[in-house]
Amino acid sequence: MEYLAHVLVMVCLYGILATSFNLLIGFGGIFALAHATFYASGAYAAGILATKLGIGFPFTMLAGMVVTAAIGLLVAFPAMRVGSHYLVVITLALQAITIDVLMNSKPLTGGPDGIPGIPPVSLFGTPLNNPVAFLPLAAVMAALCCAVAWRLGASPFGRSLRAMRENEAAAQAVGKNLVRMKLVVFALSAGLASVAGSLVAHYIAFVNPESFTIEETILILAMVILGGMGNLWGSLAGAAILVLLPEGLKFVHVPGDIADMVRQVIYGVVLIVILRLRPEGLFPETVFRPPTGAVLPTVPANGPVSAVVRAEGAPGEVVVSAKALAKSFGGIKAVKDLTIDLRRGEIVGLIGPNGAGKTTAFNLLSGFLRPTGGSILYHGRDLTKLKPHEVVTAGLARSFQDLKLFTKLSVVENILVSLPRQPGDNLLDVYLRPGLVRRAERENVARALEIASFVGLLAKADEVAANLSYAEEKLLVIARLLATGADVLLLDEPLSGLDTGTVERICGVLRDLARANKAICIIEHNLEVIRGVCDEIVFIDEGRVLTKGPPDTLMRDRELAERYFG
């Protein structure tokens, strides 16, 4: 009985660790492998506070969470600077430093001997000093932590996290503040992991550095990968399986230290085998389906230009005015002198030979690159120093030539995540004002569906973006751009690679948008299309504007034709 209870307590603790780790790697896509550091921080905080200051259980845990969340924020900084395998290595190094600190700060941590004699949790005067008594507490805490994680995963913030994981540039381009999101998810994930730490300290009554080594992080990682990244139930299952799997060793007669090593070998083998055979894990990523069902029937298919997409103001008014923009990369001037005005209700075509600086111009206008000279005024406000997400919030949004859809999100989620000012993007509101978040979500779903209907994707609303045809993907890009609420839209080759029918359809959408008072700029190579849809052509070559004017006049210009083709 005691033994069974002990195993279950361990399942609960690792369940907390694995679900919190999953928030970071499965939802956020951030491979920071220092989870045992957070675990250790919680455990040592509890040990030190309880033995040195005589503080009791819930307070040791709360203090541990605060300290660990702060450590999480510290780890978040390298995660902003470096990506992929450098982040993995840097965080593994951090993990090794943790052990050094625990080993060498003897007065505080007791060094290699650790901290013995941590008092047990006392509930209503009863000390929980055996597994059977402790299990209910562990189970409740695990349930609470999972609830917190689940709520986050299912919230609009969780959706934004998954969008960030799919594509960071695109998440910025729909107005997400990646710095804020990473800090929040790090703090939360670390804070939850520290709960498991406090519990284990009080439960075992002893902490030492050996329990928090790099192997521990790899073990938790194995649980997440086994259960399936992005699936919180999977993490619980992964924790249960990897805790139970080596328990069989208990019944074989092997010395304790060997059994430990055999366990590690099992974890390593499971990790490799899972990655080989089923890299997505036992369970697929959880689908958090937004409540489209209730709204869907009320939205007309191929909806008209509704209030959702209409921009205020008088047609012809200059919205964006970029003057003498310049950008050089290490001495090479990609853009030299780019001056361009975008007006309400007009479509401007940006054309020019390969390497003329068209996409660089978009990057400058949308804040993805900072110009080395010149200014960008949007309604008189200077945009040049703003970050991409701030530019979107101001009212100027762009698309990418390579689309950058959030491929694992559904069509409606792609649109939803791009809608501005969502209360559900704020974690305080997610946890403290669920009613507000729910109401906002309902309204947002309705708006997202209207936008889907406007571009003609209503029938595919719940389809995963990865399953769309190329033409539908291009339409979704436009829908996402509309959802940002921006009144200036920059589209990078919205028509390339499409058949004539779809080109016509998208041209229709673009004309509708112009009629709805948006200021639009497109990069396009297909001159036929340019002639059909643009009010003005801006011809750029070698980073500067050569000439601008109505399409028909420009296309008759022999010199321009020569330049365009060579």
Partner: protein
């Protein structure tokens, strides 16, 4: 003053060790792009094989080193063919390969513990001298480390510069797609660099066996030092890796003038942080 001399000597000798480790890792990582985290335990396996051949089978040290180096090369090739190659074919993202490498890391490390035990292994049969410079001292083994680093370094440099395969390796490290375009068999070259890199690490491991003895944890510090040296020295540059290896050893050793010994590893990691945070894309961008 004597302390300073001693620390400088330590830096030099340890630098040779780091340089060896870095060269092996640089060959593998620079050419194939695999973050071979299990490089650490593979190096440890090599050292343990040499120990077993000397202490258990009673072979002379030189013979044990030759066999150990060959066995480690085979081990490295096996890790490529059975662990990394299938992921490469399946087009897995780099982090999946890295996580698999971590899995291999803990499997090998613990297998060493199970097979050989966790106590420190040393050999007593190989005698060596201690030399003094004032009060500072060094041993023949440490001289051997410098010689080995020199020989291996020159050998590899010559191989890469002059031989057909060596040039192909440099070509593949430079531009893998272009290597395919001119008809280079990238799989065969990957096998070759895994063999070479692992063999180099086994040379380092054999000498560490004489100098410090072995424990199952030794691979962790080794792969980190190697990785840090390769990043600091610039991915793809063997010379950079060697210089960075020495640099790290000197920083570590001279740092000990002021900082207690137990923080040795931390010093290396802090150097890594500094470099990666300052130059996230790597230190030396190639022309």
């Amino acid at each position: 003053m004597d302390l300073l001399i001693q620390l400088t000597l330590n830096g030099l000798f340890n630098g040779a060790h780091f340089a060896l480790l870095a060269m092996g890792f640089a060959l593998i990582f620079g050419t194939t792009g695999v973050v071979h985290f299990a490089y650490g335990p593979v190096y440890a396996v090599g050292a343990y094989i040499v120990w077993a051949l000397v202490a258990l089978a009673g072979l002379p040290f030189w013979a044990a080193v030759i066999l150990g180096v060959a066995a480690t090369a085979a081990f490295g090739v096996a890790s490529y063919l059975f662990i990394y190659r299938p992921f490469e074919i399946g087009g897995s993202p780099p982090f999946v390969v890295l996580v698999a490498s971590l899995g291999l890391f803990i499997v090998l490390k613990n297998l060493i513990g199970i097979v050989f035990g966790t106590d420190v292994k040393t050999v007593d049969s190989v005698a060596y001298d201690v030399h003094f410079v004032g009060d500072a001292f060094f041993t023949t083994v440490q001289v051997g480390q410098v010689l080995a680093a020199l020989l291996v370094g020159c050998g590899i440099a010559l191989f890469l510069r002059a031989s057909r395969y060596g040039k192909a390796i440099r070509a593949m490290a430079d531009n893998r797609e272009m290597a395919t375009v001119i008809g280079i068999d990238t799989k065969r070259l990957s096998i070759l660099v895994f063999a070479l890199g692992s063999a180099v690490s086994a040379v380092a491991g054999s000498l560490v066996l004489l100098r410090d003895g072995l424990n199952p944890n030794m691979g962790f510090g080794a792969v980190f030092v190697a990785f840090v040296a390769v990043i600091v020295g610039g991915v793809g540059s063997l010379r950079g890796a060697v210089i960075a290896g020495f640099l790290l050893a000197f920083v570590q050793s001279l740092g000990m003038w002021q900082i207690p010994t137990e923080w040795q590893n931390t010093i290396v990691f802090v150097v890594l942080f500094g470099f990666l945070l300052a130059r996230p894309s790597g230190i030396v961008r190639r022309a």
